[in-house]
Subunit: 270 residues, 4 copies
């Protein structure tokens, strides 16, 4: 059978990224408490395609993934990217994985345990060096400082969602990045709250009113203060309880040149 993909292409245009998108795949990630955690990822894999080739053998992406099956952690991304570059003879390779990650939390007063889900992602690229980014989405409570200030009682509050992406020097736990975010809002969010806990989070949020602007700055300040992070972006979106649209704030900063993520110690948190 003729290999159509390997035919010469005369249009003289390199393709930046070509690959597969939206593949669901079970993975096992590192978990500080239990060692490992089973979850399900949505995976995208791309390589660059030189101008002279007509196409890409898409099945090889799946084959590479299958070879790493059971060992797809943040620590193995560099190896997967290296395999992709070699197998496709590509200048650059990209791997993106998003997955739910569960952390056991205790309610603030009764200590009742429950599981909270956080959306996580690993984004790896490899041209000359491996570049890794880790992302996490953390639900929080925000209580509006303006509403509190101007009203005789109450203050509107709502669920917000903070998305953080970081580049880093060394291993770190996703759990710590989640904590950093959860400590930067009016209150954290729980799956299980008994009445004493509900009272606690209600009163705490009222005493720590924060705009999206406050949350994005608090998270940014803490990320800038940690020398392990060399770059970050933070995005806060509030599902305003008094509007049908959302409030939004965004900060992106590069703190250092340094070696890109993926070098030095095995990066972790997954």
């Amino acid at each position: 059978m003729r290999d159509v993909q390997n035919q010469l292409d005369h249009r003289n245009i390199e393709i930046d990224k070509v690959g597969i998108r939206g593949l669901k795949y079970p993975i096992v990630v590192r978990d500080r408490r239990h060692g490992t955690q089973h979850t399900v990822a949505t995976v995208n894999m791309y390589v660059s395609l030189p101008q002279e080739f007509k196409g890409t053998h898409m099945s090889r992406f799946i084959e590479i993934l299958n070879e790493y099956r059971g060992d797809i952690t943040l620590g193995s991304i560099s190896g997967i990217l290296e395999s992709m570059k070699q197998r496709f003879r590509a200048q650059s390779a990209h791997l993106e994985m998003g997955f739910p990650y569960f952390v056991e939390k205790e309610a603030p007063v009764t200590r009742a345990p429950s599981l909270m889900e956080y959306g996580c992602c690993f984004l790896g690229s490899h041209r000359d060096n491996v570049d890794l980014r880790v992302g996490v989405e953390v639900p929080v409570t925000t209580l509006c400082p303006c509403s509190k200030e101007i009203s005789r009682w109450g203050a509107h509050n709502q669920r917000g969602r903070v998305k953080v992406m970081v580049r880093f020097r060394h291993f770190f736990w996703i759990e710590d990045l989640i904590r950093l975010v959860e400590s930067s809002a009016s209150s954290e969010v729980y799956a299980l709250l008994k009445r004493a806990d509900e009272r606690y989070v209600t009163e705490q949020a009222y005493q720590r009113p924060m705009f999206v602007e406050d949350v994005v700055r608090e998270v940014a300040l803490k990320l800038m203060a940690d020398p392990n992070f060399t770059w970050f972006s933070v995005e806060v979106e509030n599902f305003e309880s008094i509007h049908n649209h959302n409030a939004y704030a965004f900060i992106e900063r590069a703190m250092a040149e340094g070696p890109p993520s993926g070098h030095g110690g095995a990066p972790g948190g997954g």
Copy 2:
């Protein structure tokens, strides 16, 4: 060319519904304030298929829609359903349209005007009689009675979404159904609120604490009290500000046998 769809089918199975789904189509609906309103619908159209036919000529759904183009309102649904039954020689026909609908609202104190969007739908079925349902999705604010009661200050509140579906005897305005829902929550929601308005909705919500259970019952009570409605379902979903999951309540009731919607006066609200 052979007409494959018209071939005999020997499997002896009638198909309940066959048709098209997810078609985007611009429509004009009735608007109490401005006469008409342009919007964009997502349309599903189905007919039943007798056991003896292999297939359906799907292009006819589009042709029927095109014939009614510019006049696709709630009032024309019966006619469209009739056309579908005739053209397909079908026992039953179904038409579903969902679309955003805008209403101009004034802020509660400053009277600053703005546009609020509500998700609406028209669902029509025709077997022996035409059966019409109208639905609307209304965002509201809910403030937790338990949180208010047990806390020294503040109370968690959040955006909630109320979905109402009704069967009815006579014409009514969607605007009135929206009002019915908006008056049944801790506060209504606005696109534009100046500070005096924000104070007003904050204080009002604090003085009208309501669970999802309260909202679903209030809406149900008002719908039962209106003799125009012969059946309804109400669904309330709160995007809890202290959890990452939602609170939910649902009531469905048939109040009367009466003639199904679509008979009597030209039904309206769109």
Copy 3:
């Protein structure tokens, strides 16, 4: 602290369903090949609320789920529903879980293995008896018989999605329900196909042209022929390659009165 939820309600309206929605939870389901499979569910839990009570203690849903943690399979749903009825003193209880489920498949010619993901759901209700439904979403290829018939070469084909829900008498494997669907389309779908496999599925689809109407009937015929199933619904949706809207077909049938699902042998497949 006052128990607001336990207060008397004077509106005299029973609520059909009240509970939590959209909770993410890690579960372990039964897997024919490996014994068990870890996956992540989206969970809804509801109970009915008598007219005399103002509210529901939502945290109890999470507590019940936590008690069954590590043992949330189709076999344990009856027990969870029973716990819900007792703990809430409710007339009826409802549990809905949707989750991705992976099955290892071999490519049709090269036998290259890969993982396919299928969307599954367990829906349980308990009023007087337990009623269980199992659902599965299966991607398939469909090739249009009309396009093939009228064209000199080629035929349009596309990815389709078949959703099946069943009520059943005894244990069955989800894997078998998936097979039943995959054998009822123009071709099945794979995560990994080498060139010899791609040729095979291309030619097979061309030789087995099927409308959505054909697929829905084939699946229905097979389900009706299996005495284990007492009720089903089948929904086929084709992401037409020549349109930007979808083709759709739906059949629902009750085959027998029999005992509802959830009685008899431990129901399975998850």
Copy 4:
């Protein structure tokens, strides 16, 4: 009432973007055939916030939008961005609008007319200069060259989606950008096809097999050949009929420095 947003902030961090997100708004865009077209946009509006201010008066975004109501076209974006910079005394302003856009198409043989929907977006930023990007999402048919080559009959094909974003010098019609994309795939897609048309598109697709790699290159070539475009990105995603994941290709190129979009003639196409 105290103006909390205007308070001094001591954290010394400028916020890149702060504003509103997900607001639905009815707009009127330019339409080559009918002059204007009513549609519904999803709107995001952001400004930068200097380090010394605590917050943003979010209601001003809505007020600005209301002032331009009825005249929100691509041509008015520069003015809206200018208003945003002034009203917020911001260094930079951003406006994003996504909306469905309808074009009347004729079937290729019978000339039967129907409406096709395309997703469009206008993205405007203003720091020192106005930078405008116009985007369009076009559904197409792609037929796999490898599948055709290796199979004795047939070839797998599917719906694909091409997303193009451009920066430009002068006014252009969205309709022309859509045509450019539709002429770069195996076949274009229609809402209404009679049997003679279905035969035509089936045979045409079979004679013009194209990978995602081919489509992305064809579109790129045509965009590079048009001196009106100074930058573009093209993204092609195929909903593979033989897989449950998608094939993907991406190219981004800057062709010229030139003046950024938004200067020179009133930019158009909407």
